[in-house]
Point group: C2
Amino acid sequence: MPALDRSLIGEIPGFAGLSEADLDRVLSLAHASRFEKDATIFAQGEEAHSFFLLLSGHVRVVKTTPEGHQVIARYINEGELFGLAIFLGRSDYPADAVAAVDCVVLTWPNSAAAELQKTIPGFGGAAYQTIGARLQDTQSRVMELSTQQVEQRIAHTVLRLVRQSGRKVADGIEIDFPITRQDIAEMTGTTLHTVSRILSAWEEAGLVRGGRQKVIVTDPHGLMLIAEHRR
Amino acid sequence: MPALDRSLIGEIPGFAGLSEADLDRVLSLAHASRFEKDATIFAQGEEAHSFFLLLSGHVRVVKTTPEGHQVIARYINEGELFGLAIFLGRSDYPADAVAAVDCVVLTWPNSAAAELQKTIPGFGGAAYQTIGARLQDTQSRVMELSTQQVEQRIAHTVLRLVRQSGRKVADGIEIDFPITRQDIAEMTGTTLHTVSRILSAWEEAGLVRGGRQKVIVTDPHGLMLIAEHRR
DNA sequence: GCCATTGTTTGCGCTGCCGCAAACACGCGA
DNA sequence: TCGCGTGTTTGCGGCAGCGCAAACAATGGC
């Protein structure tokens, strides 16, 4: 395998502080791979042998209940760590990770985790920082689900996606990976039908433009008013 | 201040592996204090100067939305760390922590965190283990809120409370701290009224016995059937 | 022992959202 | 270019759970 280039991770928060020697060391234990759209990177319940860093693309993390309901735990953006089961003290992955578009992923075997944490001070920190941020995200989501109506939750979710993964287009900001109404429903605890109805209403009101697996926000401020329930 | 005894924390998971010298070192940086029922240990938004270990009692962690809705994030049991804002890289507490009963709490200033992590290998691990466990809990809660009906969510919540903080009594298992219908509502994303109605129905069916700020589960198995929606 | 406070129960009407069903549109592969 | 699969829209009816309101019960302070 050819050596991986430092530029792959040199600018990623959490790795940015490392020396060149440390970067090389981190990379020497990893290997890079491609996953095409809809490929499964790891599956819920599978033995957690590795952890990952998303170099490019977008990954959907999905949990399935015993009854077969799917819930999207989050989308992973470029530069984020994921599949951190080992750092949670788990031996299996608690969710599926599926490539939302073609992806490039850096993979470390769990055995590298112990070593990297020991020899490179900032490394474990990066992982735990990620987990901490996710705990806070997840807690916000509990609060939304507990106190807000469906329309507000969808507004918050769309705004968050646009903020984290938005791409400027002619008449607004587009979520830069394909996302279905069903996906949005699984992020907000509602149904495909309700999402569709609400997006249609927003389109009517000139807040967004829809499309097949596509959402373009044309009036972010208007959406914020809905998110805060001040329409 | 008198030296704290090793027996305070010697048997707590996360500290159990430490040597006597390490235990003494951990304790030398801490101080113990009492909080009486309903006292605030720290408040949402307040600067996070310390982190905590609950030695005895029960603590309610409550988040308040900008609109004033309260959501109970969790109850802390004896032996658990809490107020770990520093480990999440936060400078303020994201929630209120309120003594649900009279409590004894061990407190470390944040400055101790950096030092303890450096000098005592297992210490940081205990904190991150706690955060990881909470991330998983919180994610389960998102799934419950997203896919289950109110009655199932209440059943799961009551069963969890009984499992984590249950005390055997004559005719069942009682949650061993005072908890109101309102509290249960704030844990399950519903209203006081709906909780009351459902508990009344369960009492009618012989599954639980209620009381002021009290819940006794008399038929855990029956409750499990409801939690799984197989009544 | 009385009263004020805090918590609980219950009835009633309403509505936000779901569930089902059917038609429709886009885009890919052959 | 056509056809099929996958995603989207929309109508309609139903109901779980909320909001409001009012009465009731337990507890603790004085």
